[in-house]
Symmetry: C2
Subunit: 414 residues, 2 copies
């Protein structure tokens, strides 16, 4: 039985909750304003009552920022993390030796504040590239985390990691493993520099499940490929991006491994949380007014379907047309044509929501008015493509290209 | 001796002229309004007094439009073209059998009008995808080309091929081959859907040089890779794009082949015309206010340098920052980092015009004000990147991302 079928049967066992990274047992989180940004929260943390098994996916950008290196160093020690410290406003990227020293200082300070070993702390930064961190402010900020129970507020953490995002992002699901309830929660930030080729933003996922570490890493890699790596805002990918998944075992379930009968269900749970966060990131793309979801099926392989879906979702022309409420399906067809995928035939089908616009590779008679009103009246635009070849399928998410995208990015720093 | 050195020595033999596709001997061209577009010229033609050797590069988009197929068919017969008929307004793409029949009808009508064989006619279309050509208007238009001498006006041709372009594009150079003066002229249209992976717009290059056909094809392929394939407006590539190079031999020079001592000079002449047209296309990108030129040197190979240059020029974030006059070098560094090129070291240098902004991979102290004023006060923005590894180099051209890009593309059809 393939995973998708299995999961469809089991989906009723996964419940979506109003929740966050602190909904799973044994996780605390918080955030505060330490002064990197003018007014808004800019320093956040996560704490697990015990060291948690950790999985991580990092940016593929060659210019990996110092905090990425420090986090890798921490995880390398024994694949456990108990605390995460994150700042926004300054990315600590392209900052050389001084930047690396600063990231290590952040790790040290936070570990001392928590009374845990340094290598149990992960560090993350997001914001402008090239500036050194204002370390005094960060040190003062970390010092003011005095009572991690008292200051426990996941929504403060969610705020503290944002940059040009317009809303906080969270997701939570629960499911049963051998009769034990386990919960998975997540927080993320996105907005600019969101690209499908990598883990392209910050996302933190927590679970109270007990999971074998190598299995956890496999799970995260697979899920990231299907969710965070399938969103694009502008095709740019950042120096700092990272997805962390912490599993602290507080649910006291039988340890999950790929051999466990509930493994696929757990995987689906992580997928649900990641997909929800990924869609929120796409929806909150800089200047975006609409979420675009592209579903491709019938491709020669899933890989081909991914390429086609990403090509469409990455097209500035498609994105601008959707912003303008223009059912310009020719741009969708063109994007399929330059995706780099060889098609056996060009007799494809394209639907905009409920409206077929291309069939058999040719324009299909549709009401322009109806199509325009579909585009104008919905917050989420669905594009369906059928290649009519084999079973390959994929879904990608993105957003429209608007005046505000240009406005935000013409003057991000100034 | 490598080509570049040789060419530098010979560059003083190439003269840039105010000229067009009709400056080379034996070429006529014209254009008119046949009614596909509301007001503007929409039908253009080129005629050579004798069948000319032809080279062609076509779009790599899978959904090649019918006119491309008809042109390929014509050229296949005996690699000669005497007439070119072009319409703008409707691309005749994704139009199936009817579209193909229409493109053949255009070819037939124009060949009859000129009194030449059908296979000597190339056909080209540009405009909206998916609509059938208004054949009555096109047939009437072709019928009204009565006196090709009387109607000879290259600027009318240049206008007739435009879509959202804001100005006509032409270039011309002259040089001597064995004491015989030969001339190379060109016309192009660009604007939207301009992408580096292919011949991505319409360009027509004429020369009165006598050139062996296989050599002509090699020359065009090489030149297109260094010029038209190095520009990007929005990363989208079209279904219709084509570069044609016609050489009619009217200069009566010794036939040029790669073994001829003046071959490299000729190649450089074609390169100059193509580069000029390519830069005009980039400069006239939809909504553009600035031409951006990215020069990369010191890469491990020219291929790597190309990838890096294209990654920078294709970054929406870089493009928007330049529109905003923001010297946000972090985005340039990030674009280098995700270009897919493995660097030996990240100790790179980046200059914005005369201002060094990154050195040794780290921020270099510069006056933000000076950098901002460089960006604001120049119509052409130069970005120089030195990888400090080997000798690989490349240049790419693009434009800034502006409110008007969004405006134009949110409502192209409506």
């Amino acid at each position: 039985m393939n995973t998708v079928e299995q999961v469809e049967k089991q989906t009723n066992s996964i419940k979506v909750l109003q929740g966050s990274i602190t909904t799973p047992l044994g996780f605390l989180a918080g955030g505060l304003h330490c002064g990197i940004k003018r007014m808004r929260y800019d320093l956040g943390w996560i704490f697990s009552v015990v060291p948690a098994s950790v999985a991580a996916v990092y940016t593929t950008n060659l210019f990996q920022a110092p905090p990425i290196k420090v986090t890798q160093d921490s995880i390398f020690t024994d694949r456990k993390i108990q605390g995460v410290i994150v700042n926004s406003g300054v990315a600590n990227a392209c900052t050389g030796e001084e930047g690396l020293a600063n990231a290590y200082t952040m790790r040290k300070m936070f570990s001392e504040q928590l009374g845990i070993e340094e290598h149990l702390v992960a560090v993350s930064s997001t914001g402008v590239i090239g500036n050194q961190l204002p370390m005094e402010k960060i040190i003062d900020g970390i010092s003011s985390i005095n009572d991690i129970q008292q200051q426990n507020d996941a929504s403060d953490f969610e705020k503290a990691i944002l940059t040009t995002d317009t809303f906080s992002k969270n997701a939570c699901v629960t499911l049963e493993v051998n009769g034990k309830r386990i919960t998975i929660g997540g927080a993320a930030k996105g907005s600019g520099m969101i690209h499908p080729n990598m883990a392209t933003m910050l996302a933190f996922i927590t679970t109270d499940a007990k999971v074998q570490q190598t299995a956890l890493q496999q799970a995260l890699k697979k899920v990231v490929d299907e969710t965070f790596n399938m969103i694009t805002v502008d095709g740019d990918s950042s120096t700092n991006d990272m997805v962390l998944l912490l599993a602290n075992g507080q649910a006291e379930n039988e340890e999950l491994t790929p051999e466990h009968p509930d493994w696929d269900l757990f995987l689906q749970g992580v997928n649900e949380v990641s997909k929800s966060l990924a869609k929120q990131i796409a929806q909150d793309g800089e200047g975006a007014t609409k979420l675009i979801e592209v579903q491709v099926k019938g491709a020669a392989s899933n890989e081909d379907a991914k390429k086609i879906a990403k090509s469409i979702i990455g097209s500035n022309l498609v994105k601008a047309a959707i912003f303008g409420g223009d059912p310009n399906w020719g741009r969708i067809v063109a994007a399929i044509g330059y995706s780099g995928v060889e098609l056996k035939s060009t007799k494809i089908k394209v639907d905009l929501g409920p409206i077929t616009v291309v069939d058999n590779g040719l324009p299909y008679l549709f009401s322009e008015q109806e199509a325009a009103s579909y585009l104008q009246q919905n917050d989420t635009i669905h594009i369906f493509v059928d290649i009519y070849d084999a079973d390959g399928k994929a879904t990608a998410w993105g957003c429209d290209l608007t005046y505000d995208y240009v406005k935000i990015n013409a003057s991000y720093r100034t």
